[in-house]
């Protein structure tokens, strides 16, 4: 995971971030900045989704089911979209 984050940083730095002029106006981020664009929102593996079948079990479409795995991702997404009221504002992976 850490190597993947570093690889993401390389891509963002080379293709998207501003060249470094040590100014607060630079669109350029610390490699370990969890709030930076290159920091991935992680969806952890959950074996429960191997059996995902909402036709057989409609509870698979309830938030109680999907949030076990997707809650950190959704929180991060809501925060990025400025939908903070939908996010618990704490669990960007």
């Amino acid at each position: 995971m850490a190597a993947h984050r570093d690889a993401l940083y390389d891509v963002f730095a080379e293709e998207l971030y501003d060249e470094d002029s040590n100014s607060l106006d630079d669109i350029n981020f610390n490699i370990d900045d969890r709030e930076a664009p290159h920091w991935p929102l992680v969806i952890p593996f959950n074996s429960a989704f191997i059996q995902f079948d909402p036709l057989r079990d409609p509870s698979h479409l309830t938030s109680a089911f999907y949030e076990q795995t997707f809650q950190p991702f959704l929180s991060g997404l809501y925060a990025l979209l400025n939908l903070d009221d939908l996010s618990d504002n704490s669990t960007v992976a």
Binding site: A3, D6, D10, A13, E15, Y17, E19, N22, I31, D33
Partner: protein, 484 residues
């Protein structure tokens, strides 16, 4: 109405600008009860069962070495951290690099004389521990260090016999003894000598486990701890595995900053008013310790002090995370002095904001000044950082290892370091004298957290050192500034 008075931000700002940054603890300093802030993360550091404490420059090694001497403070530490063993402990210093002749701790010169007189390093530490243990007696004898050395040499059984008797006495009286050691880098004039004395000390400290009521605590620098040669003695892994690193987490750093403000009369009053107005009283570290379990009130209070973002928009980063992130070294920690320095400098930045204590412009400048000071501070202990970073000026990080080593090679960095340290060998990295290689230099840079090896194998320099050294972050897009 008195209650309706608004917060006087200028008063808090004034307090911040007065932060005492000169507080490097010198040998034999006394730490007053009201000066001690108790970070949540430092419980392990003070636990008497953990004999080895590792810390970089300015992280608090000397502070805790000397704070433990204060009996009132020990009582408080015992209560706050739930460390009962500190309640009835006698604490003495076994070595702290002091030049003043003391009842227990030898000076560097006394050690040098003992070594020159043929004393084995282990005899030296037996003499020190013996003198320390004797302080537990009702009428401790005044034995000079040279006399104690002589006693141990003349009577090889003296150490174990007398230590056993003193241990029994301490057990009967439900007391304990803690001998602390600091500033091991001042034990000798070169790393071989320092390593030999340190290794023997650690071995002797490990053997204190034979006693029930006598313990030692050794505060050691990160570069010495990384020296694999140091731990080449039987059972050293026991000591190494139970070691604890002195670290400062973000909430502890903020807690310290608030604590320092609360110690000041008027700024402290205004800070309390601000906390009351923002319903964040729980964040105030009353009595030197952090209050709330959750960091939410603390974050809210910092937002009230400095605004939430490093600019007008959250894309610039949140102040609460931005400051520690930009002041952290490769070990992901920040020295308390550096943190206070950043806020202190932010408080003197003009124009001052009217709706908060400091703003993002002040903080940005404060971080820059604090970074500069931190680099200078580390260069005092590790002067070889300077040529190692200088050779990378204009480079981009993270950098491939081979590219880094090539730059050092081209810049003759190793030769410069060896030349500069020829007359004073401790001015070179601990393990460089064996390896004399660029790889050894990289390991040294990593050991003091000025560089880090990333998961993808590239070498990075954290912002706190990178900016001042003129090393750049990667960034491929040239943006015309005028269009902003």
């Amino acid at each position: 109405m008195a209650n309706a008075k608004t917060v006087d931000y200028a008063e808090i700002r004034n307090g911040m600008s007065q932060f005492d940054l000169s507080s490097r603890v010198e040998p034999n300093d006394e730490i007053a009860l009201d000066r001690a802030f108790l970070p949540n993360a430092h419980r392990g550091v003070l636990d008497t069962r953990r004999s080895l404490v590792v810390g970089n420059r300015g992280m608090g090694k000397s502070f805790w070495t000397h704070a433990l001497l204060n009996q009132q403070l020990r009582q408080k530490l015992a209560t706050v951290y739930g460390l009962k063993a500190l309640e009835n402990a006698n604490v003495v210093i076994g070595f702290n690099g002091s030049d003043k002749v003391a009842a227990v701790a030898p000076t560097s010169d006394e050690i040098a004389v003992a070594l020159a007189g043929g004393a084995d390093p282990d005899v030296i530490w037996q003499a020190v521990l013996l003198r320390g243990a004797r302080t537990a007696r009702k009428d401790p004898p005044t034995t000079s260090f040279a006399e104690a050395i002589r006693e141990v040499i003349d009577n090889p059984e003296l150490y174990s016999c007398e230590m056993s008797a003193l241990d029994d006495l301490l057990i009967r009286e439900e007391r304990s003894l803690l001998v602390t050691f600091d500033a091991l880098d001042r034990l000798g004039r070169n790393w071989d000598q320092i390593r030999s004395l340190s290794q023997t000390l650690l071995s002797r400290v490990l053997r204190l486990q034979s006693f029930r009521s006598i313990r030692a605590k050794v505060f050691i620098r990160v570069d010495q701890f990384s020296d694999t040669e140091l731990f080449r003695f039987p059972d050293s892994s026991k000591l190494k595995n139970s070691s604890v690193h002195l670290r400062w987490e973000a909430e502890d750093l903020y807690g310290l900053m608030l604590f320092e403000l609360l110690r000041l009369d008027r700024p402290g009053q205004e800070l309390r008013r601000l906390a009351r107005d923002t319903n964040t009283d729980l964040a105030l570290p009353d009595d030197g310790k952090m209050g709330a379990m959750s960091t939410q009130p603390l974050e809210s209070l910092i937002n009230a002090i400095a605004g939430e973002f490093m600019g007008s928009h959250k894309k610039r980063g949140r102040v609460y995370t931005w400051i520690p992130l930009h002041l952290s070294d490769a070990a992901d920690t920040c020295s308390p002095r550096t943190f206070l320095r950043a806020w202190g400098a932010a408080a003197t930045h003009t124009p001052s904001p009217t709706d908060k204590v400091v703003d993002h412009l002040g903080l940005s400048e404060g971080v820059r000044q604090a970074s500069r000071d931190r680099l200078v501070e580390l260069q005092e202990d590790y002067p070889w950082i300077d040529p190692a970073l200088h050779a990378l000026r204009g480079e981009f990080v993270p950098i491939e290892r081979e590219q880094l080593l090539a730059r050092w090679d081209q810049g003759a960095v190793l030769q410069t370091i060896l030349k500069d340290s020829a007359s004073e060998p401790t001015k070179a990295p601990v393990n460089l004298e064996q390896s004399e290689s660029l790889q050894g230099l990289l390991e040294a840079m990593k050991s003091i957290a000025v560089m880090e090896e990333r998961a993808n194998g590239k070498i990075n320099v954290p912002d706190i050192f990178r900016v001042e050294a003129g090393i750049k972050r990667k960034g491929g897009v040239a943006v015309p500034r005028a269009s902003k």
